[in-house]
């Protein structure tokens, strides 16, 4: 075994740092999925009749659908009857201040380095914390309220703003869009809702931290962001999850709706438990994320740093309906050990003079498989549309794989579509150059990888970028080959 391979072995033995479980009493639905489960969830959440009907319709659709087989990932068959679909922390009434929050939860956040009070005081981020599907703390709400911004849990939005939910739920990702979106539509437990009124620029980054907590609980989040004409919002989503032996299913849906001249920036740092170094355990992350640029001159920008999950199946997309609308996708996807990622984006150009930009940076290490899958579709009416795609892959070691599946469909001959792709390896020369300057091997890899991913990391809000850099370094420590 060469030294580099030894180093490779060493890093693959890095255990997941956030691996622990919080001892909270959970209020759970019985295992399994049926119409009764859907009714249980809906009644537990005291939902109106129309929403129950919507869920049931989604459930019936789901029954007729089959799991997608086209992604370049392999996993054992999921037993949907062996999953708990609803679990809520015991506390029934919401806390009015942090003092009322379950101390166990506060400890959870502290382990993650997310102290709500500190966040409030230092960074001015309003945090809507989701633990096991129910929002437990929402901050800064009043300040946002003064501007007419709504930022609350999905359940609360259903109670307080039913007209908005009724209007926009499923408007970007229809309930029968795909297998996992249908599943989510039937059993979604909670999530976030965000509404920015006309002409308002949201003065702070809105942020939600997700956690998967109780054992065997599927996490079915639902996020809906609506930006009215001329408004702007930047939304951050960050995840960590405790260590588990059994695979956990995570099937979220995120819908973004941007009116004329509105802009939504959505950033994710995803760090779900990836499984151990032998590929045991880890999260299955099957997510549907889509944004609709409904109005002219609207803009939606996705930025993601994906380091976790055993399996990632995720294509944050933009439907560019409004003329002159713009979609962006910036992604860093890291896979290590036995992780599998099939991720990318879809840019659908419908309006005239629409533009899209795709920058994807894949990093594969260990025995992992990393695929970029992207579609650029220029429709008939989309004259003078433009797309630029850049897909880079970086390989570490000789046992991993990088794959690129670009699909380009052009139905309008005035369109300009550019695609660039590169594959490279971290060179021994680069490592030696760093070593010779006194930089140890782990720091060297971190430096080189962060340099490689810089274009994407630069898109993240400052405090998130720092977190993401650390995460990249942590995920890849020492994996040189």
């Amino acid at each position: 075994m060469t030294k580099d391979n030894q180093v490779l072995e060493d890093i693959t033995s890095k255990e997941y740092e956030h691996g622990w479980a919080t001892d909270l009493e959970a209020d759970e639905s019985p295992k399994g999925l049926s119409e009764d489960t859907v009714r249980f969830i809906s009644s537990r959440k005291q939902e109106p009749e129309w929403l129950l009907e919507w869920r049931l319709k989604a459930y019936r659709n789901w029954l007729k659908m089959t799991e997608p087989k086209w992604p370049n990932v392999k996993y054992p068959k999921i037993n949907y009857q062996d999953i708990i679909y609803y679990s809520a922390p015991k506390k029934k009434t919401g806390p009015s201040s942090l003092d009322e929050v379950d101390p166990e939860l506060i400890k959870t956040f502290e382990k993650l380095g997310i102290s709500l009070t500190e966040q409030k005081r230092l960074s001015g981020i309003a945090v809507d914390a989701v633990i096991d599907s129910v929002s437990v703390a929402t901050t800064f709400k009043e300040k946002l309220g003064e501007l007419g911004i709504i930022f609350c849990s999905f359940s609360e939005a259903v109670r307080e703003h039913p007209e908005l939910i009724k209007k926009y739920l499923g408007s970007v990702v229809p309930m029968n869009d795909n297998y996992f979106a249908a599943l989510n539509s039937a059993v979604f437990s909670d999530g976030s809702f965000c509404y920015i009124p006309k002409g308002v620029r949201c003065p702070m980054e809105l942020s939600t931290y997700f956690r998967i907590n109780a054992a065997n609980t599927g996490q079915f989040e639902r996020t809906l962001i609506v930006a009215e004409e001329g408004s702007y919002v930047s939304y951050l989503e960050g995840c960590t999850a405790p260590m588990r032996d059994e695979n956990q299913l995570h099937a979220a849906v995120v819908e973004l709706y941007a009116m004329k001249d509105a802009e939504i920036k959505y950033s994710t740092v995803q760090n779900w438990y990836p499984g151990d170094k032998n590929g045991k355990g880890g999260i299955y992350n099957f997510v549907t994320k889509r944004g609709l640029c409904a109005g002219d001159h609207s803009k939606i920008s996705w930025t993601q740093v994906e380091t976790g999950s055993a399996i990632t199946w995720k294509y944050p997309s933009c439907v560019l309906k409004g003329d002159y609308s713009m979609g962006e996708f910036y992604s860093v996807a890291v896979t290590n050990n036995y992780q599998q990622a099939d991720t990318g984006t879809k840019m659908t150009h419908i309006g005239k003079n629409t533009r899209s930009r795709i920058v994807s940076k894949g990093i594969s290490a260990g025995k992992s498989q990393n695929s970029y899958r992207g579609q650029v579709h220029i429709m008939k009416r989309a004259t003078n549309s433009r797309n630029f795609s850049q897909c880079d892959s970086l390989l570490m070691g000789d046992q991993c794989g990088a794959h690129t599946f670009p699909y380009i469909d052009v139905e309008n001959n005035t369109a300009k579509v550019e695609h660039e792709a590169t594959t490279s390896k971290i060179g021994e020369d680069q490592i030696f150059y760093c070593l010779q300057r006194g930089i140890d091997e782990e720091a060297a890899v971190a430096l080189i990888v962060n340099g490689y991913a810089k274009e994407v990391l630069n898109q993240l809000p400052m405090e998130f970028a720092v977190e993401a850099q650390k995460l990249l370094a942590l995920t890849l420590e020492g994996s040189v080959g």
Partner: protein, 251 residues
């Protein structure tokens, strides 16, 4: 400072260094010359700790430590600097960021606290002047799209920043025009002190017009076959390497 005894090294099955003996003291500048393939760059690489080479025999003492026992990054922290013949590109990493990381790693190794942003910037400004390098170059991705001269000047800038005890310059003069050569040489000369030492690895005598060595060694077939003062370089220039080869053939 540096004592090399009977150093032998190979790459794969090919023996390249066949017993090098070399003594370098603080305050000295040594030039190592020799025809292509004589093992000059190998010697530089072995001293810096490049893994491609296997040391088969001999030992190297550096400031009282067994150099060959140290990992390459630890050698750098101990004060060995190699100016690369072919500096490596690192996309997305600026020279500034690279130097900040390196300098603080070395400080950490020596039990010093990291330099804060202000102190680092101050140091950088001072060293930039020394090697006549422009800040815009330092903000760009390391060596990416740099001209040959810019790369070499950047190496000397890094050397100025890290203030090594022993600097090894591997063919730093190759590919430089006369102006760039002068700037690089000026930088090296300004950094010379009684506390540090320099090994210049070069093929041509040209560099030695600007950086005057105390000793000149001729390397041939992996051995130092002739040593002398700076005049040896001139003699070599006048007579060519064949002179050495013939002399050896006769002996």
């Amino acid at each position: 400072m540096l004592t090399v005894k009977n150093l032998r090294a190979k790459i794969g099955e090919k023996q390249i260094l066949n017993g090098i003996d070399l003594q370098v003291n603080a305050g000295e500048v040594h030039a190592i010359m020799g025809p292509n393939g004589s093992g000059k760059s190998t010697l530089a690489s072995v001293l810096a700790g490049r893994e491609d080479y296997e040391v088969t025999e001999g030992n190297v003492q550096f400031l009282g430590k067994d150099l060959l026992e140290l990992e390459p990054d630890k050698r750098a922290c101990e004060g060995i600097f190699l100016a690369f013949q072919y500096p490596v590109e690192i996309p997305g990493v600026s020279t500034v960021n690279f130097m900040k990381t390196a300098l603080n790693k070395i400080r950490e190794y020596r039990g010093m606290s990291p330099l804060d942003a202000v102190a680092f910037l101050q140091l950088m400004k001072e060293k930039m002047k020394l090697v006549e390098i422009d800040q815009s170059l330092l903000s760009r991705s390391l060596n990416e799209g740099f001209s040959g001269g810019e790369k070499k000047r950047n190496e000397i800038f890094q050397m100025a920043m890290l203030e090594p005890k022993l600097a090894i310059l591997d063919e730093t003069d190759s590919g430089l025009d006369i102006d760039a050569l002068r700037i690089v040489a000026n930088g090296v000369n300004k950094l010379r002190s009684k506390n540090n030492a320099t090994i210049l690895v070069t093929h041509y005598q040209r560099l030695l017009e600007y950086i005057v060595p105390d000793f000149v060694h001729v390397l041939y077939k992996g051995r130092i076959v002739k040593s002398g003062g700076k005049e040896l370089a001139l003699e070599l220039e006048a007579k060519g390497y064949d002179w050495i080869k013939n002399e050896l053939a006769i002996a």
